[in-house]
């Protein structure tokens, strides 16, 4: 009985392993700050892109008046944009969303701004469900997880005001955050790729011809993409790379050994791949959303090894502190709230994982579906999956004007039945969103929208051309199949999607 017994930490070994994984799987606050800035930028770009067609998609004068919206939206969908029907009010909501995104950009009341952005983004997407893409889904999910993460700890007005003291979680490392939500964000990003891989089941992907089909679609491919048709080997390489990256990236994100370099290389790989895809296909903001998601995963090593980045990061913080320190300190979330938030994040993660499993197998149970739809945690990572479209085509909108048949897509010129030139087909979709709309309109997903679209075309035409108003309108899709093995297309066939008289 001599002296104090030696202090043995129980489970020191386990602690070692846990600490190792914790170090490997934590997120860096500077990366999260970069993530926040990019997210806010994406929201603003998204708003700008959508605002060009504000009246078409979001008002009672557009394709989907509110009464019709209620008839076909999924049960759990809600939307602040359905409170108003007029263009003015929608413009006001767009402006509000942009202002809140700017708040988020500057890191001023970051958490509230993120939550408000999330609500407004879901509202916006729910108001016009048809034009939603994978990029939109990922953006709203990133915003969802962002609400639970300390996005405003660095490079922010909030951070400067409280002297850049990080308090969330119980981490010693001043730049690391390791909470249920940070793990959830990593799993979410991994799921995008993993489910993407599992859903790409068609032989086109296995054989490396998938990109070839994709760039063959005249409305979907960019000029660069069309040009790539002359370099089939590059397209094959891109196909295989895209497929294998989908399988590898999830593994690399969680790879615990040498995680610094592995994760940085993974981020670089994905950026390269997404930029390449974005160059050949009209994918809107989708590649940038995926890149933004990857930026959040940049490890601390990146900031420390890259002197310039580290310097820049510190400089931003210094600049902000210089101007804002000594102001009143911000109100801190009490620990209870932090625990509740972590609990919510864990439940949400469970919903997200279950939901992704159901997209691979059976339909979701009603409770799961209700939860996922209300908080818009639903997701399906089937971009170009199971196979890219194998058909292609163009739209004709024949309308009757005093017995004469004219094409509304060609500014009221007489209908011509032969194939228009490539550039004209490309321009039928006036924007990225209208390309998505037209692509889905001919799909099963767009069946309910067809008569409404025809009526909208009528209304819209007669509104601007009162002297040459039309009496009835038809939406035709001229469809031709890609006969890849023969290096050619089948003859185009006409599908009448809708026929409505103008009232």
């Amino acid at each position: 009985m001599s002296g104090v017994p030696e202090q043995v930490e129980p489970g020191a070994e386990v602690g070692g392993a846990a600490a190792f994984l914790k170090k490997a799987w934590s997120l860096d606050l500077r990366s999260l700050a970069l993530f926040r800035v990019c997210l806010a930028g994406l929201i603003i770009f998204d708003l700008i892109a959508r605002s060009t067609e504000l009246r078409t998609y979001y008002t009672d004068l557009g394709i989907l008046p509110r009464a019709e919206w209620h008839a076909l939206r999924p049960a759990g969908y809600w939307s602040l944009h359905a409170v108003f029907g007029s263009t003015t009010a929608q413009a006001f909501l767009f402006l509000l969303a942009a202002l809140i995104a700017i708040m988020m950009f500057a890191g001023w009341h970051t958490r509230s701004a993120t939550a408000a952005s999330w609500v407004l983004l879901i509202s916006l997407q729910n108001r016009m469900p048809l034009i939603e893409t994978q990029g939109d889904a990922l953006l709203r999910l990133l915003l969802f997880w962002a609400m639970f993460l300390p996005l405003g700890a660095r490079w922010s007005i909030d951070g400067a005001r409280r002297g850049f003291v990080h308090q969330e979680g119980s981490d010693q490392d001043e730049y690391a955050t390791f909470t249920p939500a940070s793990i959830a964000l990593m799993i979410q990003v991994a799921l995008v790729f993993l489910c993407g891989y599992l859903l790409k089941t068609s032989p086109e992907w296995k054989s490396g011809r998938a990109m070839f089909f994709a760039v063959n679609m005249e409305q979907m491919a960019t000029n660069a993409g069309r040009g790539m048709l002359h370099f089939p080997r590059v397209l094959t390489f891109l196909s295989r790379l895209a497929l294998w990256a989908d399988l590898l990236v999830p593994a690399l994100i969680f790879f615990p050994w040498k995680h610094e370099r592995v994760r940085t290389s993974t981020v670089t790989l994905v950026i390269f791949l997404q930029v390449a895809l974005g160059m050949v296909l009209r994918l809107g903001l989708t590649p940038f959303v995926i890149i933004t998601a990857m930026l959040a995963l940049l490890p601390a090593w990146y900031w420390e090894s890259q002197e310039r980045s580290a310097h820049l990061s510190d400089h931003i913080d210094w600049l902000l502190t210089e101007r804002l320190a000594q102001r009143e300190s911000r109100f801190q979330l009490p620990r209870v709230t932090h625990r509740i938030a972590s609990g919510i994040a864990i439940v949400a993660l469970a919903v997200v994982v279950l939901w992704n499993i159901t997209t691979l197998r059976s339909p979701a149970t009603p409770v799961l579906a209700r939860l996922a739809q209300t908080f818009r945690l639903d997701q399906r990572w089937d971009l170009l999956a199971p196979r890219p479209y194998q058909d292609d085509g163009w739209y004709l909108i024949p309308a009757l004007r005093h017995g004469e048949e004219v094409d509304l897509f060609r500014d009221g010129a007489p209908v011509k039945w032969n194939k228009p030139p490539e550039t004209e087909v490309f321009r039928q979709a006036t924007s990225y969103h209208s390309q998505v709309f037209l692509a889905k309109l001919r799909d099963d997903a767009g069946r309910a929208y067809r008569p409404m679209y025809a009526r909208y075309l009528c209304r819209n035409w007669n509104r601007w051309h009162s002297d040459q108003s039309v009496q009835s309108v038809e939406v035709d899709f001229m469809r031709r199949m890609n006969l890849f093995d023969h290096g050619t297309f089948s003859l185009a066939r006409r599908y009448v999607l809708a026929k409505e008289s103008c009232r």
């Binding site: 009464a67 919206w69 029907g85």
Partner: protein, 597 residues
């Protein structure tokens, strides 16, 4: 400013302005009305405000909502999310009640109240128009300048001598005229011969068994008195508002008294929702300063108290500031115990705050009791002096004491800042313009020749400042009766689905049963309008809802599954005074087979 202008302004403030304490109590009263109204509405949350209810949003946006109007409730359709919006309203109303960020809270409450009203016009009426107008003008008034958390925080900094007790702005004038319009235009709209010549209107109003309270029948046995009341109501609604405009405090107070008495009479004889309550709240701002100062001098003379609190605790400082604002004169000394060594020692020894009055030092619950003893609410003093209450209070005190750091963090959003009293000149001009608009809206209700041109109708629809004070106008309704809804179930049985599946019976219902047939005031308003043929657009929607509501949770093979039903109103025309009662006759409003819509 020129002194002469100053004198004129001071005269206006004194005689036409409003007392800040009156405005604060007005705010509290409004918040209570909103909480009550929303509580009553929340019982019918599914029926009135969700997509499963009578009016799904798809139908609402078709006919029922003006294109310039909005409702936050159009954003959500499931009962869970609607409940979230209700909860938000309750939180904002509570913030308004305690005066935390009063203006912001009032704004949110106003948005939610006009939203809920716009979402379901059919159940609107009674107090709705008045409630939303009072909230609207309250947004432009410094209702948080007294008896509020805001004011408590402001007293920590402001020079107390400087603050005026009364204000006179465009908004006080607007509120004043709004209340006057309520009565005057009600008189103008009561244009039927029953009101103006025969004097039978009150008789007819009270004869509606659907609206009767137990007191009503006593009045009905005195037709002569009711004839007198008829003209008395007209006179009172004309003259009492005039008294509210007289620049003599005493006359105004008497006017308030008259109108409050009339509202209490309505309350006891007619089931018209929260109307009397809201109308009484509308009178509070007219209470003159002497009313609020009554007894203050005695209380101050009785004894002064001094409060010592723990200066190192943010929560403690804010808590005593708030207690002082609500209970005590504003110049009651609040001192940090740390400043005097004896008090500091005493505080640490007793582990409590200290209230010092003539009789000595008081701690914990006892200290709170002494505070109440010196306030306007001395009754609570007796209550807090009871032995077991004090013991419970002390236990609670120690609980709270232990979590003071956490409470300090939670109280961080309660900041020390001033409450602005004057509004900007631009706001005043805006309020004046809105008042002119409201005047125009009211004139329009009297005569269509004053109609607002369609191009300028949008402010009324957007801000919901459209109004029509037409209760029992131009004459009281005379069609009265009760509903019977025989429904055919899957097993062939016929039951009354309006009465939870009772046996169908067309017997004469006694007056108590007729008055009690509806679940609450909202259903009463909606179904009374339906019985008079005012709700024809709602009829198919209501029928579909009744099917859905009955069959919810039932399987189509269930023997009690509802197949079809009829809505029958057994009604008659109420008889004139002394006339023989007319027989009741059933009339079918609609026959409906479930699932045909």
């Amino acid at each position: 400013m020129i002194p002469a202008t100053n004198r004129v302004y001071a005269w206006f403030v004194k005689n036409f302005g409003m007392d800040l304490r009156a405005l604060a109590v007005f705010r509290i009263g409004l918040a209570i009305c909103v909480i009550g109204d929303m509580l009553i509405r929340s019982f019918d949350l599914r029926a009135f405000y969700t997509d499963e209810g009578i009016l799904p949003r798809a139908e609402a946006v078709k006919y029922f909502i003006h294109s310039w109007s909005f409702s936050v409730f159009l954003a959500v359709g499931t009962w869970q999310l609607v409940a979230v919006l209700f909860a938000l309203t309750f939180v904002a109303a509570f913030a308004m009640l305690v005066g935390f960020r009063s203006r912001m809270a009032t704004f949110i409450v106003w948005v939610m109240v006009i939203s809920v009203q716009t979402r379901m016009h059919g159940v609107g009426g009674g107090p709705d128009g008045l409630l939303r107008m009072l909230l609207f003008w309250a947004m432009f008034l410094p209702t948080g300048a007294r008896y509020s958390v805001d004011a408590a925080m402001a007293t920590a900094q402001e020079d107390l001598e400087e603050q005026p007790k009364r204000i006179f702005t465009a908004a006080t004038v607007a509120l004043m005229l709004q209340v006057v319009y309520l009565y005057w235009f009600a008189v103008l709209l009561k244009s039927g011969p029953e009101w103006r010549h025969e004097g039978t209107a009150v008789w007819y109003a009270l004869s509606l068994e659907q609206l009767q309270t137990p007191f009503t029948r006593i009045f009905l046995s005195f037709p002569g008195f009711l004839k007198f009341l008829n003209f008395f109501v007209l006179a009172q609604e004309t003259l009492a508002p005039l008294m509210l405009l007289v620049p003599l405090p005493l006359v105004r107070a008497v006017g308030v008294l008259f109108l409050a008495a009339m509202q209490l009479a309505f309350l006891s004889t007619l089931r018209v929702g929260l109307f009397p309550e809201v109308a009484c709240v509308a009178l509070i701002p007219f209470l003159p300063s002497f009313f609020w100062e009554r007894g203050e001098q005695q209380r101050q003379d009785r004894s002064r108290i001094t409060i010592y609190f723990d200066g190192g605790c943010d929560f403690c400082r804010k808590a005593v500031l708030i207690l002082r604002e609500f209970l005590l004169p504003r110049d009651t000394p609040l001192l940090a115990a740390q400043d005097s060594p004896e008090m500091h020692a005493e505080m640490r020894e007793q582990n409590s705050w200290i209230v010092v009055d003539r009789t000595g030092h008081h701690y914990r619950t006892d200290a709170l009791a002494v505070m109440f003893g010196h306030s306007r609410l001395p009754l609570l003093w007796y209550f807090l002096r009871v032995g077991w209450v004090q013991r419970l209070g002390d236990i609670a005190y120690h609980r709270i004491e232990r979590i003071r750091p956490m409470l300090s963090r939670w109280m961080a959003p309660v900041r020390f800042r001033k409450v602005p009293l004057r509004s900007a000149i631009a706001t005043q001009i805006l309020v004046a313009a809105l008042l002119a608009y409201v005047t125009g809206e009211n004139l329009w209700t009297v005569n269509d020749q004053y109609a607002i041109p369609p191009a300028f109708q949008w402010p009324g629809a957007l801000l919901r400042i459209d109004q029509r004070w037409d209760m029992f106008s131009p004459l009281p309704p005379r069609y009265d009766g009760w509903y019977v809804m025989p429904g055919e179930l899957a097993n062939g049985k016929i039951v009354d689905i309006f009465r939870d599946g009772e046996e169908v019976s067309f017997r004469r219902r006694d007056p108590g049963e007729v008055a009690g047939q509806y679940k609450n005031e909202r259903w009463r308003k909606f179904l009374m309008d339906t019985s008079r043929g005012n709700n024809d657009r709602y009829l198919p929607l209501l029928s579909e809802y009744l099917c859905r509501d009955w069959n919810r949770g039932r399987h189509p093979n269930d023997p009690t599954w509802l197949r079809s039903f009829e809505i029958i109103f057994v009604g008659h025309k109420t008889a004139p005074p002394g006339g023989t009662p007319m027989p009741y006759e059933p009339s079918t409003l609609v026959g409906y087979r479930c699932g045909t819509r």
